[in-house]
């Protein structure tokens, strides 16, 4: 029988809180001496990366064969070597892990690489400036890094996609900080990264805006460590005093003198948080857990240890074992605490009695009847926090037993927990060695776990887990297929092409079949095709690409494969204009102009969109190209319009005329565009005339750019009536329009005599009503009235009214003998005076 869970517990705070140390794996003899290495551990039960610490003296002829080469070794938590590779790219400054278990290695030239667990890497740089200054130190956290350059400034990189490094505020250091730490953006209120630097006796907190001196006086500090939730900060002074303060430095939370620890030997190695309220201080072979009230727990080991913070505890790697130290979760305490009388403890007790066929079971159940549901839930939760399957099973059984006494119970929690435990137990197995706790699993999500397994090339397990948890299988499949493509490489490069092709077919078929069988329709082949192409297997890539249904995924690869036409067609079909631009601009850069145009023109109907988009782009950015494009395609009208558009932007009259002339020429070359050509001809004439007019007026009046109407108007307003007449005859302006123009112009200059003379010059083609209306509208009622007499007689009374001449309106009625109209007017009359006048007229009519 497995030891009782409480066997690993130790009490703290007078037995109110328990911490437990659980052995996860036995690593005896598997790990090298951690003292001689620089180590970086990955969260969530991830592996350890280590590199020999060249500052340490070690004995030659030991267990380590290659010491003079820079090597990185990666060990699983169970102590098995996972990967070993040598480093040949300058001096390593720092290495650390990303949240998707990739190893980041940064060298002093500011170059960093991201290694996955298969040893493949991507390389990025912090920029040339950082390269020149050199990198002194760096802090790598899960979602980015902060580096200190040679000039002691700070650079930040967000994410791992090779983002451009951003400079943080300059702290103005004169020497590297004694110690420093980074609070990741997601733990900060500002949601931006914050760097804490221990400088002299104080601490500077730096973000991208400002440097704040926190005015501490107890420094300098050798260790800084922010808590997992980013709210508190542990500091260790040179004298060994451990301080805990809030990260806003407003409150001091605890103090503890580590030098008082009895078994402490030598200097402190690490300060790590265990949960959010306890701190683990490690020495060479000894770890001390300091609780919030200064109480301590001691852990002894046989050799040097390394601690990795987890969200719910600390993982300790020692030469013999891999341990997890954590606060015992509440539900577990509630069930197993000696003497506990909580409902869950009673339930567990009842179940034990039941399995021993003792009648006590009934009594216990009865006693907790009202709290049974919560007791069941607590047992389920406690099962999740147990490491040993034996105890997991017992707790689940207890829960199941209690469930039987409930009328209504939603079993989904129970089922999910069962599934989760199955998954967790399978990945905790030492050959897989992902020691994930239930809390961590919830933190990191199941798909994260699956991704980690695929990254270890454990495709079968990953796939089974993802189907078991009904996750989508495509991520696993994709990774599997890429691995398949890489590994199925034909053995010798000299093999005949026939076998090569058949091998391609085979692999392609294999992948496609597997996808069809396991994945839905949404699996993307493009990524795999890309991998195949990168691996130099063009044939396979094309074959795989044929199976891809999404155009947007096909296009970039097709471009790299130089399948230009196909890429363009696919892009147009996708309807994504951005994709079309992507292809167009790419091709424009790569192909000779002629070939490029031909490609688009030959596409005909199918590529209309591409051609249209090219025109939109070129009109704004590259007119020269557009002109060539139209010219090469004999598009006269478009060329003309382009030329015309340009003419509107030209200020110099002479070159403007030339542009319009060019447009005219293009139009005249197209026999269907005779009208347009003629119009352009007129336009040129007008521009010439306007130039002439401007000269005549010594440039005092601007004519250029006006329409024919406006030109006439301007002439009239400026007393150039002769000129206006000339424009009229030159451009065959119809009489009607000319009359209106003249009316408007003369009214605006209040040249009523001129207007009078003009109307008498000949019979108005527009009648005289417009004169009345316009003059009234402009407020010249008096002048307007003079024209009423020339209008049609039936309209006259109303028009007079418009001019405010009620009397005349009445007289008009009288002369026409229209009594009804007169009465109508009388009704509308605005005041009694007019009423009386109208009455008079009415009486005189009798």
């Amino acid at each position: 029988m497995t030891a009782h869970p409480t066997a690993s517990w130790s009490a703290m705070q007078d037995g109110n809180v328990f911490y437990r140390r659980q052995q996860l794996y036995s690593t005896s003899g598997k790990l090298p001496n951690l003292n001689e290495y620089i180590v970086a551990g990955c969260k969530y039960g991830g592996p350890l990366a280590m590199m020999r610490d060249t500052t340490k003296v070690i004995s030659i002829g030991g267990t380590n064969p290659a010491l003079n080469k820079a090597q990185i070794q990666i060990y699983s938590p169970a102590g098995d070597g996972m990967l070993l590779f040598s480093w040949d790219n300058g001096k390593i400054v720092r290495f650390g892990w990303t949240d998707d278990e990739r190893l980041v290695i940064l060298n002093e030239e500011g170059v960093y690489r991201l290694y996955d667990l298969q040893g493949d890497y991507q390389q990025y740089s912090l920029g040339s400036e950082a390269g020149e200054l050199g990198i002194v130190d760096a802090c790598i956290y899960e979602s980015g890094l902060v580096a200190i350059t040679g000039s002691l400034t700070l650079l930040e990189v967000k994410g791992w996609e090779g983002a451009r490094p951003l400079s943080l505020a300059n702290p103005g250091l004169t020497s590297p900080p004694h110690a420093w730490a980074v609070i990741p953006p997601d733990l900060n209120i500002s949601r931006h990264v914050e760097v804490l630097l221990s400088v002299e006796a104080t601490i500077y907190s730096v973000d991208n805006l400002e440097v704040v001196d926190q005015r501490l006086s107890r420094g300098p500090f050798t260790h800084l460590s922010p808590s997992p939730n980013g709210k508190s900060l542990a500091l260790l002074t040179f004298s060994g005093l451990l301080l805990v303060v809030s990260t806003d430095f407003q409150r001091s939370m605890a103090e503890f003198d580590t030098s008082t620890a009895q078994h402490a030997d030598g200097s402190v190695r690490q300060i790590v948080w265990c949960g959010n309220d306890a701190i683990l201080v490690t020495w060479d072979a000894f770890a001390l857990l300091v609780g919030p009230f200064g109480d301590t727990l001691e852990y002894f080991y046989s050799g040097p240890i390394f601690a990795v913070t987890e969200p719910d505890g600390v993982r300790l790697m020692s030469p013999e074992v891999c341990d997890l130290v954590q606060k015992v979760p509440a539900s577990t305490v509630s069930v197993f605490r000696p003497g506990s009388t909580s409902p869950s403890a009673m339930l567990y007790d009842a179940w034990e009695s039941f399995s021993q066929r003792s009648p006590k079971a009934d009594e216990s159940i009865r006693s907790i009847r009202p709290e049974l549901a919560s007791a069941v839930n607590e047992c389920i939760d406690a099962a999740g926090h147990e490491w040993e399957p034996y105890w997991q099973r017992r707790l689940m059984n207890a829960a199941k037993f209690g469930r039987g006494f409930l009328d209504l119970f939603n079993p989904s929690d129970f089922v999910t927990m069962g599934q989760t435990l199955k998954v967790l137990n399978s990945v905790r197995f030492y050959e897989i060695s992902v020691p994930l706790t239930y809390t961590q699993y919830l933190h990191a999500s199941p798909s994260h776990l699956v991704a980690r397994l695929t990254a270890r090339n454990l495709h079968l397990l990953a796939h089974r887990i993802s189907t078991y948890l009904s996750l989508k299988p495509d991520a696993v499949l994709k990774h599997w297929a890429s691995a398949k493509v890489l590994h199925s490489r034909p053995s010798g490069s000299g093999t005949a092409t026939v076998t090569d092709a058949s091998a391609d077919d085979e692999v392609c078929q294999l992948i496609v079949d597997k996808f069809r069988k396991l994945g839905g329709p949404e699996v993307s082949f493009a990524d795999i095709a890309k991998r195949a192409w990168e691996a130099g297997r063009t044939g396979l890539a094309t074959k795989l690409l044929d199976h891809e249904s999404r155009a947007s995924d096909q296009v970039p690869l097709l471009l790299t494969m130089k399948e230009d036409r196909l890429a363009l067609i696919k892009a147009v079909d996708s309807g994504d204009t951005d994709l079309v631009y992507h292809v167009l601009l790419h091709l424009y850069n790569r192909l000779p102009l002629g070939t490029f145009f031909r490609l688009i023109e030959d596409g005909g109907e199918r590529l209309t969109l591409a051609s249209r988009l090219l025109q939109v782009y070129a009109r704004e950015q590259n007119r020269e190209m557009l002109r060539d494009f139209y010219y090469s395609d004999d598009r006269r009208v478009e060329s003309a319009v382009l030329s015309l558009e340009e003419s509107t932007q030209i200020l110099d009259p002479a070159s403007k005329i030339n542009a319009v002339k060019a447009a005219q020429k293009f139009f005249s070359e197209d026999k269907d565009r005779a009208f347009e050509a003629k119009m352009m001809d007129e336009s040129v004439r007008l521009l010439n005339l306007q130039m002439q007019l401007e000269q005549e007026t010594d440039g005092k009046i601007t004519f250029s750019g006006l329409s024919v109407n406006d030109t006439i108007h301007t002439c009239l307003v400026n007393g150039m009536a002769k000129r206006a007449d000339k424009v009229k005859s030159d451009f065959k302006v119809p009489d009607k329009r000319f009359w209106y123009l003249k009316l408007y112009a003369l009214t605006s200059t209040r040249d009523f005599e001129g207007l009078e003379a003009f109307t008498k010059s000949k019979r108005s083609p527009i009648g005289y009503e417009p004169f009345v209306n316009h003059l009234v509208e402009k407020g010249f009622s008096k002048e307007a009235a003079t024209y009423v007499s020339r209008c049609d007689s039936p309209r006259r009374p109303d028009l007079y009214v418009k001019c405010g001449e009620w009397r005349k309106a009445g007289e008009e009625c009288k002369t026409r003998g229209d009594k009804a109209k007169l009465m109508e007017l009388r009704k509308k009359a605005p005041n009694s005076l007019i009423e009386r006048e109208l009455d008079q007229i009415a009486t005189s009519m009798r």
Partner: protein, 670 residues
Amino acid sequence: MASDDQSSVPANESALDVSLLKDVAKSALVDALNSVNGAKTLVLDASLSGPLGLVTEVSLLKHHGVDKMFWLEPGPLTSTTSNVVYLCRPTIKNVKIIADQIKRHARESLKHAYTVFFVPRVSTLVTRILEEEGVLGDVVVSTYNLQFIPLADDVVSLERDNTFKELWVDGDETVIFDSFQALVSFQKYYGSFPRIVGKGDSAARLATLLHRQGSTDSSSSEARLANEQTIDSLIIIDRRVDMITPLLTQLTYEGLVDELIGIKNSHVELPASLVNPPAASTQVAPPSAPTSTAPVAGLRKEAKKKYHLTTTTDPLLAEIRDLNFSSVGKKLNQVAHRLDEDYKARLQAKTVAQLRDFVGKLGGLQTEHQSLRLHTGLSELVVPLTKTEEFNKSLEIQQNLLASYNVSVQLTAIEDMIAQGAEMQTVLRLLCLASITAGGIKAKTLENVKREVLQAYGYNYLPMLLSLAAPSLSMLLPNPLPSTVTGPKYPFVLLRKSLRLLIDDNPEALDEVENDISFVYSGYAPISVRLVQCIAQKGGVLSNPAERDKQDQDGKGKTTKVQAHPIVGWKGFEDVISTIPGETVDIVQKPANAVISPMASLLPREQATTTVVFFLGGCTYTEIAALRWVARQNRGRKFLIATTSIVSGASIIEGIAGVGKAGGPKDAGI
């Protein structure tokens, strides 16, 4: 009362809650701003200010670290903060300005951190231009995904200016793809479209994109399943299918205000005296003028102020916005009387309790009072404009052209209007209308009119005339067509008969009962809405449901609205629809995993469903009014109107001509 029609929506028929979209847009903006730490200078694309004003207010921006705001315009930028944030559409013009400003700073060796948010997404094109200009390395490029913005509780819009020109003059289909993406996210929030029906080539392209997406992507099918039943279909109407409607003068209240005064992003510019209540009582949060590099246009004759036309702060608007303008005066009068009586209630208040009751209502009354004052004032502004000769002449020509009455006389009348110096857009709208309704204008006449237009308004309008005649638009064609141009003509005369477009209305009846959707144009029914009726209210195309209602009323004394019939595509109207140029779409999308019996979708359901009508290329206020009317005739179906933007004939013509109304964005609300 019309207000009852709108407010008496039963609870179970409540439409989709579009304010969700506003919240999404707002929080996305906040996230975008917060991603840049510290105080920042915001440089805003003027064309975005209107749309942004609908989702956020200046105070929110200030609250999230925006120190100063500038318009994005050519010229140097002075920024006091180290962070400069650009928020703009991914157009070449904008990007060039940005690049220029950054280079200027570099020359003056000013150090700033630049972030550019492109709306709604980054395009390869602009990053490429940033690269060509050599500044890509200096900026952080990101996106602010602003998609549908709710304009009213049943209208959402992408608020993209000039989509019409982009689509059919430039052939730039970006807006189709953007609409597609917006509709995809729309489906994520509200459930998928079980059926997509549409008309027009671009509509077909959009439908294909949506269908392809629907069949490949079932990722969020579980989430969607919950409200699977709330949307019954998506109807896509391509603006090209119905060019006539926007060419006409809109005659509803809101439509007429748009025609004569201009509504931009739901804001209308009014004299300040009208917007500000005399006393500083209830205030419609005035959009404070931003600090701008542009000198504030102080030379305006009268201070103008933006007023947001929304029913949330303006209850009266809901009652009058969709009325034919002729009945607005009467309605306002009614409201004034009611208000007066409500105020008088005070005199009758005898007990303290009654008095307290009255005081409780006082706030509401004052809001209503202010709103009445504003709309009365606004109507007063509009009325003189409807009395001008140009306005009435153009209405007359429109009505005659719609009835195909003596086309050549109408053309002469149009020429007269040119001679009288009528507005360019008015003339061109009439010309295009003549060409479409009559199937082209006699070549000789057309050439003459075109010459008149060029002489009167300038030769630089020649490209516009060419665009209008281009096959993609075919709005201004000679008759007979030259051999080079092929393609079917718009069968207006046929449609007029089969879709019952022209209604004889007697003015008395119009006041009382809204006869048919044709009330929006005083007797002409917009084709686009008729097409929607072909799908969602088949009876309404053939006869007036309102009239039937009336008969029922006489018979039974109580009106029961007809239950809306399920969506069965174009059924019954296939012949008519096929005569209209452009592809016809009818796609039934199978839900990915839900097995629904084929009959289930045909059975009438008690639960109300929503039909989303998407206008690709923009819709007019009259079309919205008409669709609201359609929705009121049936039980069990709501309409949600989605559009790329709100358009009018003027905005379309001016868009093609490339002359926007100047000075519009300068003093935008935000």
